[in-house]
């Protein structure tokens, strides 16, 4: 039971993101903001920080691929971006102690990086034609605020859970 809890958590987040955009944003916040839930990604970063690089990158690759196939229909974007950013985060976290505020800050930076990366790729393949200033104002800042709120609420329980998971892994 304990073994499937972690994949189940990510599957839930995967579904919640889709339900979130289906129901919430545009009635609550007015139609001019593009709020992008990056809950799955934030949790992946927390997994990388608190459990380990190996698990983080593995889950990032799997869920990046599924995300691409199911939602985006362009395979490769998140399959590439999720593990790459998880890898960078694991490298950066070697330098600092894993204090919660630092983990929070690093996750927000990682989300920025992810948005910039996906903006770059979408621009190259001409799916989106949002210019950079609009991208910052309409999309990036609201998204960061949304994800910061998510992390403030769920960050601490996630940290506790992933630390326990890491302890269990090393105990085995």
């Amino acid at each position: 039971m304990k073994k499937i809890l972690l994949p189940l958590l990510f599957v839930c987040l995967f579904l919640v993101e889709s339900l979130f955009v289906e129901y919430l944003p545009d009635q609550v916040f007015g139609q001019n903001w593009i709020l992008v839930p990056r809950f799955l990604f934030s949790t992946l970063i927390f997994l990388t920080i608190y459990t380990g690089k190996k698990q983080g990158i593995l889950y990032a690759a799997i869920f990046g691929l599924v995300f691409d196939v199911v939602y985006v229909e362009v395979i490769g974007i998140y399959l590439f971006l999720f593990p790459l950013i998880c890898y960078l985060v694991s490298k950066i976290m070697h330098l600092w102690h894993d204090n919660f505020m630092i983990a929070f800050f690093v996750t927000i930076c990682a989300t920025t990086l992810l948005e910039l990366g996906s903006f770059g790729i979408q621009h190259i393949i001409h799916i989106a034609n949002l210019d950079f200033i609009d991208f910052l104002n309409l999309r990036l800042f609201p998204t960061l605020i949304l994800n910061a709120i998510f992390l403030l609420i769920f960050g601490y329980p996630l940290k506790r859970y992933f630390e326990k998971y890491a302890a269990r892994l090393s105990g085995e």
Binding site: L15, V36, Y71, G76, L88, Q122, L130, D134
Partner: protein, 293 residues
């Protein structure tokens, strides 16, 4: 400062970059159907999503009906005033329908461009990445859905079917910024004007209708429907109302700004429209390159 990428890592990064480009190229190519592993993954997640979606629809419906309860009195008043007119309207429609039928019989024309076959579907997911606005619905190939079919809600056209799996399919909304999205539209007035729905103004939330000849006059408030001339959509699906008209860059054409009749957010149930009139073959058209709907 530690070294971020050692030689081995650098090679891995470069190889994955090449794989990335190859994969993106693979998935951007014109495809009739997603490959079977993709279909398998999509159908499996689609099944899980439909399990989750139905209870959430129920709860969301419960909340919105509580919300609607507040305005019931006002609405009831207004609806009562409208229902008086309805009876006479119904009688008129009935006679017109009969008239139309008999005239069509004398002409010997059985099918029209507006004949269609509706198929209701439930929305089970939406692309959370928000670059391309896409919905996932719970009907697929086994229910007779084909690529490029029109998708509407009760208030108007919302998009077209982008890809079909066995038990689910993906709908691309009109608000998606896809340059390939092009729908032949008709602006109703004293004389009908034709144009193409081509693009979406993200800030004003308006659809752009381009390629309207410069000489024609279009006024605010005119209705816009699909023309059915593109060969895939039927005629007469509502798109929206004109709010503004501007001349094009070179003054040869006009662009109409249209407020879409349908709400592109908070969509729970949709109807997929199958056109009954035969579709023209690509080879019969002048050049098969452009995909006009």
């Amino acid at each position: 400062m530690p070294q971020f990428f050692s030689n081995k890592r650098l090679i891995i990064l470069l190889v994955s970059m090449i794989v990335l480009v190859a994969l993106i190229g693979f998935s951007l190519r014109e495809r009739n159907r997603p490959s079977w592993p993709e279909q398998f993954v999509k159908d499996t997640t689609g099944w899980v999503q439909s399990l989750v979606a139905k209870p959430t629809h129920y709860f969301a419906g419960l909340f919105s009906s509580l919300h609607e309860l507040e305005n019931t009195y006002q609405e009831n008043k207004e609806l009562k005033s409208r229902i008086d007119k309805l009876a006479s309207l119904e009688a008129e429609v009935q006679t017109l329908k009969k008239d139309n039928q008999s005239l069509r019989d004398t002409l010997g024309e059985k099918q029209t461009l507006s004949d269609n076959d509706p198929l209701p579907a439930t929305v089970i997911g939406r692309n959370p990445d928000r670059w391309t606005e896409m919905l996932i619905i719970d009907k697929g190939n086994v229910n007779g859905i084909k690529k490029n079919m029109a998708v509407v809600t009760a208030t108007g056209l919302i998009g077209k079917v982008k890809s079909v799996n066995q038990f689910s399919s993906t709908v691309e909304l009109l608000s998606a910024m896809d340059p390939k999205n092009r729908i032949s539209a008709l602006i109703q007035g004293k004389s009908d004007v034709y144009g193409f729905v081509q693009g979406f103004d993200e800030k004003q939330k308006l659809l752009l209708i381009k390629s309207i000849p410069a000489g024609t006059t279009i006024t605010k408030g005119q209705n816009v429907i699909t023309s059915g001339l593109g060969g895939i959509f039927p005629k007469g699906l509502e798109i929206g109302k004109v709010v503004d008209v501007k001349p094009d860059q070179y003054g040869l054409n006009q662009t109409a700004y249209v407020k879409p009749g349908a709400d592109f957010y908070d969509i729970q149930n949709v109807i997929v429209i199958k056109r009954l009139m035969t579709q023209p073959q690509v080879s019969q058209m002048s050049s098969g390159k452009e995909e006009d709907l």
